[in-house]
């Protein structure tokens, strides 16, 4: 582990062979070819298929490193300390740890994010959408030599409502007219809107919207967006299809409500990656991911998942000190 804040960032010119740029952050390097991404650090190197890497990197950028740890696979990932971020290789893999092959460096989050934004833009070819499930018609292909880009797809802004979607001045609802048609797997979801009768003077307070219709029109997968806010309690519903591109390691308890269909979660120990549980969630099911696990979801059909977060920045320290629980409720 290197304790000092890394300040070395470099974007190298495009390769004559593949057309892709390569990247340096601290002593980590990132290169890609037609099929694979190569990550190296002083004590090792690692290879990932480009599709999985791009889907994971896209969420890292869109979520701003999210809460806790984003493991791209058992070896490589990031951990958010909110302002500062760890980038690691092998840190949460018992064999890498036991053999001293693990490596971790610390970065200013915004600086690393800036490099990653450039990487996502350069490594996404025309027509490929790393937010899409691979079965979607317009998902495109991640493979091949550098061939254009897809700036519209990779620069989507994650929705963060201030109070609730649909309120005047807040995040817009989604419609055909503003470019959000229903997804092919949600064509049977009703688009009816709630009846809202407002007395004069209360237009900003009497409001409702069709959340299920809103989710049926999401053009991304595994990208929780804030739809309603009670202080630091955030309802972050999302549409899911195929595999969560990262193993998400919690730094706080995180709740799920399965609004439609079914997701299976593989749950592992956060530190070692050893299997702990397999959770099947069907419509109406509620479950809490403890603060000491990592989890990855599998959604065979596009489904609606309500992710419920307590966004308080104090929670990781509260858990460390025992002030907040690792398991949300004891009974």
């Amino acid at each position: 582990m290197t304790e000092a804040l890394q300040t070395h960032y470099k974007i190298n010119p495009a390769s004559n062979e593949t057309g892709y740029k390569s990247y340096e952050a601290g002593s980590f390097t990132f290169k890609r070819d037609e099929y694979f991404v190569a990550i190296s650090w002083p004590k090792g190197a690692h290879t990932m298929a480009a599709d999985g890497f791009m889907r994971a990197m896209m969420r890292t950028v869109a979520w701003g490193f999210f809460y806790g740890t984003l493991s791209y696979d058992p070896v490589f990932g990031t951990t958010n300390h909110y302002g500062i971020v760890d980038m690691f290789a092998g840190t949460y893999h018992p064999v890498f740890k036991e053999n001293g092959r693990d490596h971790l460096e610390i970065f200013k989050a915004e600086d690393l994010l800036e490099l990653f934004r450039d990487l996502v833009d350069d490594w996404t070819n025309e027509g490929y959408d790393p937010f899409a499930a691979p079965g979607e018609n317009d998902a495109g292909q991640p493979w091949g030599r550098k061939n254009g880009n897809n700036a519209d797809a990779v620069s989507r802004i994650r929705v963060t409502a201030n109070r609730m979607v649909g309120l005047p001045g807040d995040a817009d609802i989604r419609t055909d007219r503003n470019g959000y048609p229903q997804n092919r797997m949600f064509a049977d979801v009703s688009s009816d809107q709630p009846l809202v009768e407002v007395e004069p003077g209360f237009e900003d307070e009497v409001a409702a919207f069709n959340l299920y219709d809103y989710l049926s029109r999401s053009d991304v997968t595994w990208n929780p967006s804030v739809c309603s806010v009670v202080k630091e309690s955030l309802f972050c519903p999302t549409s899911e299809e195929f595999i969560l591109p990262v193993e998400h390691g919690n730094d706080r308890c995180e709740w799920f409500v399965q609004l439609s269909d079914e997701i299976t979660w593989e749950v592992k120990d956060k530190e070692t990656g050893k299997p702990r549980s397999r959770i099947v969630m069907r419509a109406g099911d509620v479950a809490c991911m403890p603060a000491d696990i990592r989890h990855q979801g599998y959604s065979p059909k596009r489904s609606m998942l309500l992710v419920w977060e307590n966004a308080s920045p104090r929670i990781p320290d509260m858990i460390q000190s025992g002030e907040a629980p690792v398991i949300a409720v004891q009974f």
């Binding site: 109070r163 609730m164 797997m185 949600f186 064509a187 049977d188 979801v189 009816d192 709630p194 009846l195 809202v196 009768e197 407002v198 007395e199 209360f202 307070e205 009497v206 409001a207 409702a208 919207f209 069709n210 959340l211 299920y212 739809c227 309603s228 009670v230 202080k231 630091e232 309690s233 709740w255 409500v257 399965q258 609004l259 439609s260 269909d261 079914e262 749950v267 702990r276 549980s277 397999r278 959770i279 099947v280 969630m281 069907r282 419509a283 109406g284 099911d285 509620v286 479950a287 809490c288 991911m289 403890p290 419920w308 307590n310 929670i315 398991i327 949300a328 409720v329 004891q330 009974f331």
Partner: protein, 172 residues
Amino acid sequence: MAEYKTVFGGLNDFTPGGVDAIDDNPKNYVFSNVFDVASKSAPYERVAVGKNLEYVMEAVRAEGQSPWYACAHDEFALCMDGEVEIHLVKPDDSDSLVDPDSEGAVVLDEAPDGRKMGRIVLRRGHQALLPGGAAYRFEAGAPSVILTQTIQGPATVERWAEICHSESLSAN
């Protein structure tokens, strides 16, 4: 090829999953089902199905008319089954009904005096704002289900041992 069918479940139509514990305690996941909880609740019991420090999600069986509630902060109601009407009133003196620094919904003894704010009718998938400082009442002609986003308060009911799965799927 068959069209895709989206499964939402309901009060009389739910098939919970569960926790298959490999090296774990299934109780760690506080696993329940909103429809299951509502199917066993009295009308307008606000049963916590999620708790994140002071914040809660409550499963509510909406049936008939609820009492009036007031709350100092915003809350939200998501209708997960059926149809639920919400009446909103701006109390003449909301501070006397509910301490502005308090958290969670408070049950009122009677309908508050104040200005009508409006009326909302939610069906499955619809979500409404219950604005802070307002009073509100639910009404449902047939048993329906609401999920709230709020803070734990005097109206919140906790009965985790009754509602949560405590056995692994593999044990069944």
